[in-house]
């Protein structure tokens, strides 16, 4: 799809780039009115990204590699920047990477937010970001062969399992807790329903630093989608990226393809998507607020929040036919309408939720423990936030007004009544409060959409499929934005699918949020970015002064966090 000259948004950034880096610019192309991809020379990559990021108010949403050797002879890396200052649009900086040297200059020294992405590109494509300070593997396990890069087009099938190269873990985990438990829950994604291993470096009770290792249960979904599934079936796979906000992923994926092919989704379908998205936010936020109650010792509140949350689940089942994995999206629209009876029932549930949650929230706010335990705890410094591009309530609790629903309206959000809630406490409390406010907005959005449902079809059919078109799709999940980038292939499959869940953007700064707090605050801080961390089943504590390591079952740490007596450190 070629975008008409006058409707191109972001020309100012391109003009600025051409003026500042005249020799580096190779190609500029608009994929949609507000999505631009700029190809630059590799040497200029760090400068260009950093100029857009720091000088022009950009945030690094995602970065990824692509094996384009069959298309143009080279590999490519893409840095997707969400421009959120005056002119809001997406600028993707792309550079081709020589297939022989397989090197390109690292952006991380200039823009720290690039660190996980560059580590992942190295794992998946074997492309070396020269100058990357942290050269450890990110995604691949210790026993993965040296020269096998899973996402290269010529390496392997999705169902191949290379023999482990070593039997011993390079990471030695101490387990003094006797029998160890394995909890194989979910994906690497969003709420990180996965075993992750935290290392807290402590001095007595105080955390001086923290490190963690994730991706123990990487499911290879991108590879699966690229090799095994039709592009129109991936909406159902995207539904399963996350156990909480799967529908958000599905919307992000579907809209990436719709954007690439220039499909205009009918207004009624857009409104329905917004409704389902907010239903997801309802139950997700209630879950997190419930957990916050649990962590500050208000366990009855936790039970009550979960009881009330069931109404949001009922709403999902009523509207979509399933509590989770709604399966409602197809390329071009949605599969199911909202009927009169369902509409009336949903409105009734909304009213009940509002009435029942309000006193619970009041009580939570009055719990003396809440302020005491959460105020000033787990500080996400605005400077750190600016450097790492975190998302969702985490960044909104640190004073930045970022919400994809507002910055780059999708689905029906341009016409919906809601606010952008920003607090500047930078602490766990601010994140909880942001969620509380957003909960009420979600109810308002659902009610508004149900009252003002546009007429018309649910689905566009009969669009033209063009190979090698690509674009971004995005949606604000309860814990931050999901970003998908899809490039269509010439076989009705995806040539490349990049799916970035919000928690991916929130893990790197977590380390700074943990520093300076006590061990008993750690569970609370981790929970405040809202990952499903139930599977982070053990924590290793390393006392830097005594040079001693102890492994404590996670439940024990959590118990200590609530009761604050009988420290497991003694």
């Amino acid at each position: 799809m070629s975008v008409a000259e006058q409707s191109r948004i972001g020309r100012n950034y391109i003009a600025g780039l051409s003026e500042k880096f005249p020799a580096a610019m190779l190609e500029v192309e608009w994929q949609t009115a507000d999505q631009i991809t700029v190809t630059v020379k590799p040497d200029a990559l760090p400068e260009v990204v950093s100029w857009l990021y720091y000088d022009q108010g950009g945030w690094l949403s995602v970065l990824f590699g692509n094996d384009e050797r069959t298309l143009n002879g080279s590999f490519a890396v893409y840095y997707v920047l969400s421009m959120e200052k005056d002119v809001k649009c997406w600028v993707t900086v792309r550079t081709l990477v020589d297939p022989v040297t397989q090197e390109y200059p690292s952006v991380t020294p200039k823009v720290p937010a690039a660190v996980w992405g560059e580590r992942e590109v190295r794992d998946m494509y074997g492309l070396r970001p020269v100058g990357l300070p942290d050269e450890r593997r990110l995604v691949l396990p210790d026993d993965w062969p040296e020269d096998l890069y899973p996402l290269r087009k010529d390496t392997m099938g999705y169902n191949q399992r290379p023999a482990p190269t070593t039997d011993t873990e390079t990471y030695q985990f101490v387990n003094d807790g006797g029998e160890s438990r394995v909890v194989p829950l979910g994906p690497l994604h969003i709420t990180s329903d996965e075993p992750g291993h935290f290392r807290l470096f402590v001095d007595g009770e105080d955390i001086v630093d923290a490190d963690y290792r994730m991706f123990y249960v990487h499911r290879g979904m991108e590879k699966l989608a690229e090799t095994r599934m039709g592009y129109d079936e991936v909406t159902f796979l995207a539904d399963r990226v996350c156990g909480i906000c799967g529908f958000t992923h599905s919307v992000a994926y579907a809209s990436s393809v719709e954007n690439a092919l220039g499909i205009v989704v009918p207004p009624r379908a857009q409104a329905i998507r917004s409704i389902f998205l907010e239903v997801e936010r309802l139950h997700s936020h209630l879950l997190n607020i419930g957990l916050a109650s649990h962590f500050v010792g208000f366990d009855t509140g936790f039970m009550q929040f979960f009881r009330v949350r069931e109404k949001a689940m009922t709403m999902a089942e009523l509207l979509t036919g399933a509590r989770k994995t709604y399966g409602m999206n197809v390329i071009g629209g949605v599969r199911r309408d909202i009927l009169k009876d369902e509409r009336a029932k949903t409105l009734k549930l909304c009213a009940e939720l509002r009435a029942e949650v309000t006193p619970l929230v009041e009580m939570l706010m009055e719990t003396p423990n809440l302020k005491q335990r959460t105020q000033g705890v787990g500080r996400l410094d605005p400077k750190v936030a600016r450097d790492f591009s975190p998302v969702g309530p985490a960044i909104r609790g640190s004073g930045f007004a970022r919400d994809i629903r507002v910055d780059h309206p999708y689905a029906a959000y341009a016409d919906m009544p809601f606010g952008l809630h920003v607090l500047d406490g930078c602490d766990v409390l601010s994140r909880v409060l942001v969620r509380v406010k957003e909960f009420y907005d979600s109810l308002a959005i659902i009610e508004h959409a149900l009252h003002n449902m546009p007429e018309g079809p649910l689905l566009i059919e009969g669009f033209a499929y063009t190979p090698h078109k690509f674009a971004l799709g995005y949606a604000e999940a309860p814990r931050g934005e999901d970003i998908h980038w899809s490039m269509l292939g010439d076989n009705q499959k995806l040539f490349r699918w990049r799916c970035r869940a919000p928690t991916y953007a929130n893990w790197p700064p977590l380390r700074y949020m943990l520093r300076g707090n006590t061990v008993s605050d750690a569970p609370l801080i981790v929970a405040s970015i809202d990952p499903c961390y139930s599977c982070t089943d053990r924590v290793t504590l390393i006392d830097v002064k005594k040079q001693k390591a102890t492994t404590v079952p996670y439940q024990e740490i959590e118990r200590y966090g609530r009761e604050r007596k009988d420290s497991p450190l003694k």
Binding site: F236, T300, Q304, A322, R335
Partner: protein
Amino acid sequence: MFKLLKIIRGAGEATEKYPFAPFPVSPNFRGKPEHSPAQCIACAACVTACPPNALTMQTNTAEGKRTWQLNIGRCIFCGRCEEVCPTRAIKLSQEFELAVGSKADLLQRADFTLTSCYCCGSAFAPAKEVDYALALLAQGALSAEQAEAMRPHLETCPECKRKQALASIEPAQALMRG
């Protein structure tokens, strides 16, 4: 504290009696797909649509048999099959209790007889699918007799049809004669 007690009292019993009492689901809940072999014509539309390959089909021409299979362990309850089925032979039910004691019980099969080609005699398409096509024709522009008259044509396998088509073209005839 008093407020909390009031909420707790008001909430009453939040848990359900399930599994000692049935657990009702929403009217449009998407549960286990129910297949009616009597209604199915083995056209494989559902098999093509099924995203996780929970539905598969195997054609055994030697035995003149086609087997439709649902692996409930792979099913994601999306309902695509129901959407595409021309005869409403598959429909998602309200059933959600799907645990089984042995893996084999996750599979559900239905066998269909293949029709033999009018010309070469090899098995090629489900008999019911051919009948269904004829019935459709009879419902449309054609009379029952006219439709029935087309049976030999519909019961010819694609391979033989190709040969027949070729044979009807003058230059090709010359070529075939060598």
